[in-house]
C-alpha cells in the first residue's frame, strides 16, 4: 500500500510536476483557502466568545442580584417571575437574534477542502 500523501506533500508534488504553471496557481489558491478558513473561524470564534462573556454577565449577574430572595409575594409578569423575564428570557431573545445574525450573515462560507485518504490507510 503506498504511503498516504499528506496535504502539503500533494501540493509539493503537483508544483514540481507542473508544466504550465497551472498547478502552482492551484497550490496558491489551496493555501489561500486554508488560511481564509482559519482567519474567518478565528474571527467568528472571538465574536462568539465576547458575546458569551456579555450574556454570562447579564444572566448570572442579573439573577444573582434579583433572584436570590424569598419574598412570599413575588412580582410576576404574565405569571413568570420578573427576574426570569429580565434575567433569562430577555437575553435568550437577544441570543436568538445573534444566532440568526451569525447563521445568515456573520459566518462566512468557505471551501473546507478536498477529502484526503483515510487516516488509517498509511
Amino acid at each position: 500500500m503506498p504511503p498516504r500523501p499528506r496535504h502539503g506533500q500533494v501540493k509539493e508534488v503537483l508544483s514540481v510536476t507542473s508544466v504550465n504553471g497551472q498547478t502552482e496557481r492551484e497550490h496558491g489558491i489551496c493555501m489561500d483557502n486554508a488560511a481564509a478558513v482559519l482567519r474567518s473561524s478565528r474571527r467568528e470564534a472571538t465574536q462568539v466568545a465576547v458575546l458569551w462573556v456579555v450574556i454570562c454577565i447579564w444572566v448570572v449577574g442579573y439573577c444573582i442580584t434579583n433572584a436570590y430572595r424569598t419574598d412570599p409575594d413575588p412580582v410576576l409578569i404574565a405569571g413568570v417571575p420578573s427576574w426570569v423575564v429580565w434575567g433569562i428570557l430577555a437575553p435568550w431573545m437577544v441570543c436568538l437574534a445573534a444566532t440568526c445574525w451569525f447563521a445568515f450573515r456573520g459566518v462566512e462560507d468557505t471551501d473546507l477542502g478536498e477529502e484526503q485518504a483515510q487516516a488509517g490507510e498509511d
Binding site: C63, P72, G79, P81, D109, Q116, G120
Partner: protein
C-alpha cells in the same frame, strides 16, 4: 404510570419498528459513496442541516425525563440552570465547526483520536484519546441501557405465571425482558445502519419530542389555570423558594453553581466526542450555518416551554410522590393516552439514539483506532465490518449486564463522565483548531490535567459521601471547591497546563505549522 399501558406500549412498538426501518435505510445510504470506514462511522461527511442541528448537542433520555422532575421539585430556578442553552448553537457550531470540518478533511480523519493523531503526528496522543474516550462513553452507555429498561418496565405488562413483585437478580421481570427486547432492537439497527442510523434516529426522536412538547404546552396552561396560578400553587406546596433561587426546599443552585452550569451546558457540549465527531461529518459551511439557526430555534421551542409546562404541573399534580414520573403523569393527566404514548416515546427514542451513537463511537475507536491501526492495517472491508459488528455486540452485552447490576449512584458517575469528556477534549480540540505552537505534548498534558482535576474533586467526595447541602440531591456528591462545580476547575486546570506546556516546551516543526495552521495567505 402502570405497567401494561396499551397506548404507550404501542407508541414504543411503533418507535422501535421505525428505528429498524431507519437502520435499513441508513445502511443503503451509507453504501452509496466512500469506503466502509468513512461511510459506516461518519456517513461519508454528508450530514445535512437538520441532522446536524438536532443531533449534535447533548440530549439524551435524561434531558426529557430528569429535567422535568427537577423543575417540578425546585421550581423557577431551573430556568437559570438551563439558561446557557441559549448560547449552545453558537458555541457548538460557530467556534469549532469550520476548522474541525476542514482539518478532518485535510487529515482524512474519521474519528476524534484520528484527528488528534494526524494533526499532531503522535500515535501516543491518538491512543490516549481513544482510551479516555472509550472509558467515558462506557459509563454513559451503561446508564442509557438502564434508562431504556426503566421506561420499558413502566409500560410492559406482567408475564403470565410470574407473581407480582417477583424479583430476579434484584430486578423486576419487566425490567429484564424489557432490557433484552430493547437491546436486540437498538443493537440490530445500529449494526445495520452505523453512524447514519444513530444520527437519523436521533433526528426522528428530536422531531417527535418537539411535536409532543408543542401539544403538551397549551394543554398544561389550560389545565393549570395559567402560570400565575401554577406559581402560587408551587409556593403553597413547597414555599416561596419555588419562585426564586436557589430553589425550593434546598440550595439547589447557589450563585457559584449558577455560574458553573452556565459554563457547563454551553461550553461542555463543545468538548463532547459525540459533538466533535459530528463537526467532522457535515457537508459544507451553508449546512453549518443553517444548522446553527435551526438549533437556536429548536432550543427556544423546547427548553422554554419545558420549564413552563412543569411549573404548571404543580397546579395540575400538586403532590406527586415520585417526581421522576412527572412527565408521563402530566401527559396522561392533560392529554389523551395516545399523546402520552407519543411523549413517552420521545425520551425512549432519545435513549435509543444515544446508545446507538455511543456504540458507533466505541466501535469506531476499537476498530479504526486500535484493530485497524495496530493489529491488522491491511484488513479488507469485509473483515472490518465483521470486527465492527462483533465489537458492538460484545460491548452491548457487557453494558446490558452492567445495567442490571448498576449501583444507585450511577447518575453521579454519568455527570462525572460528561464533565470529564469536556475537560479531556475541549482544550486539545481548540489547540488543534487554532494554536500553531500547540504540540502533542501540550495536548496530552491538557487532557491529563482536565481528567485528573475532575478525579481529584470527585473521588474524595465519593469517599466522604456527605451531603454538601447544595446542588441536586443524589447518592454521591463531589467536592464543590469554593462552591463551584468540578467541571469548571477541571477546565481551568486543562487550560492552564495546556498553555504552560505549550509555551515552555519546544514548538512543532515549521512544516507542520504551515500545513495545519497556515497564517500567511497570499
Amino acid at each position: 404510570m402502570k405497567g401494561g399501558n396499551i397506548e404507550a406500549l404501542s407508541a414504543l412498538g411503533i418507535l422501535m419498528i421505525a428505528s429498524m426501518a431507519i437502520g435499513v435505510y441508513a445502511n443503503r445510504a451509507q453504501e452509496k459513496g466512500g469506503g466502509f470506514l468513512s461511510g459506516y462511522f461518519l456517513g461519508n461527511r454528508g450530514l445535512g442541516s437538520w441532522s446536524m442541528a438536532l443531533t449534535a448537542t447533548v440530549m439524551s433520555g435524561g434531558t426529557f425525563m430528569g429535567f422535568p422532575s427537577l423543575v417540578y421539585s425546585y421550581g423557577w430556578v431551573l430556568a437559570l440552570w438551563i439558561a446557557s442553552y441559549m448560547m449552545v448553537p453558537l458555541c457548538t457550531f460557530v467556534v469549532l465547526g469550520k476548522r474541525i470540518g476542514q482539518l478532518s478533511r485535510q487529515t482524512g480523519a474519521i474519528t476524534l483520536p484520528d484527528l488528534l493523531r494526524e494533526r499532531f503526528e503522535s500515535p501516543r496522543l491518538g491512543l490516549l484519546a481513544s482510551i479516555v474516550m472509550m472509558l467515558i462513553l462506557t459509563f454513559g452507555l451503561v446508564s442509557q441501557f438502564k434508562a431504556g429498561a426503566i421506561i420499558m418496565q413502566l409500560v410492559l405488562p406482567p408475564l403470565p405465571g410470574i407473581p407480582d413483585g417477583a424479583l430476579y437478580l434484584n430486578r423486576s421481570p419487566q425490567f429484564l425482558y424489557g432490557l433484552l427486547l430493547f437491546s436486540i432492537v437498538v443493537v440490530g439497527y445500529t449494526i445495520h445502519g452505523g453512524f447514519l442510523a444513530a444520527v437519523w434516529t436521533d433526528l426522528f426522536q428530536s422531531v417527535l419530542m418537539a411535536i409532543g412538547i408543542l401539544i403538551l404546552f397549551p394543554l398544561a396552561l389550560i389545565h393549570s389555570g395559567g402560570l400565575e396560578r401554577a406559581t402560587q400553587a408551587g409556593i403553597a406546596a413547597v414555599g416561596p423558594g419555588f419562585a426564586y433561587a436557589p430553589g425550593a426546599e434546598r440550595d439547589f443552585l447557589t450563585p457559584g453553581l449558577a455560574f458553573s452550569f452556565f459554563a457547563m451546558w454551553s461550553i461542555a457540549g463543545m468538548g463532547q466526542p459525540a459533538t466533535l465527531v459530528r463537526l467532522m461529518a457535515f457537508s459544507d459551511t451553508p449546512t453549518l450555518r443553517r444548522a446553527t439557526f435551526l438549533l437556536g430555534a429548536y432550543n427556544t421551542v423546547i427548553y422554554v416551554p419545558l420549564v413552563l409546562i412543569f411549573i404548571c404541573a404543580r397546579a395540575v399534580l400538586p403532590n406527586l410522590a415520585q417526581p421522576d414520573e412527572v412527565m408521563p403523569a402530566m401527559a396522561l393527566k392533560v392529554a389523551s393516552p395516545w399523546i402520552a404514548g407519543l411523549i413517552l416515546a420521545a425520551p425512549f427514542g432519545a435513549v435509543m439514539a444515544t446508545i446507538s451513537g455511543f456504540l458507533v463511537q466505541i466501535s469506531s475507536g476499537l476498530v479504526q483506532d486500535v484493530y485497524h491501526r495496530f493489529f491488522n492495517p491491511h484488513a479488507d472491508e469485509a473483515t472490518l465490518r465483521r470486527v465492527s459488528n462483533l465489537t458492538m455486540v460484545i460491548v452491548a452485552i457487557g453494558a446490558a449486564i452492567a445495567a442490571i447490576f448498576s449501583p444507585k449512584f450511577l447518575q453521579a458517575l454519568i455527570v462525572f463522565a460528561g464533565g470529564c469528556a469536556a475537560c479531556a477534549f475541549l482544550v486539545p480540540a481548540v489547540m488543534t483548531a487554532f494554536w500553531k505552537q500547540a504540540t502533542a505534548r501540550s495536548a496530552m498534558a491538557a487532557m491529563a490535567a482536565g481528567v485528573l482535576s475532575m478525579l481529584a474533586l470527585y473521588v474524595p467526595g465519593w469517599v466522604r459521601n456527605a451531603d454538601p447541602g447544595i446542588g441536586e440531591k443524589s447518592g454521591f456528591y463531589p467536592v464543590y471547591f469554593m462552591g463551584v462545580a468540578p467541571f469548571v476547575w477541571g477546565l481551568v486546570a486543562s487550560i492552564v497546563v495546556g498553555v504552560v506546556v505549550t509555551v515552555v516546551a519546544p514548538g512543532p516543526p515549521p512544516s507542520r505549522v504551515d500545513e495545519f495552521v497556515p497564517e500567511t495567505a497570499r
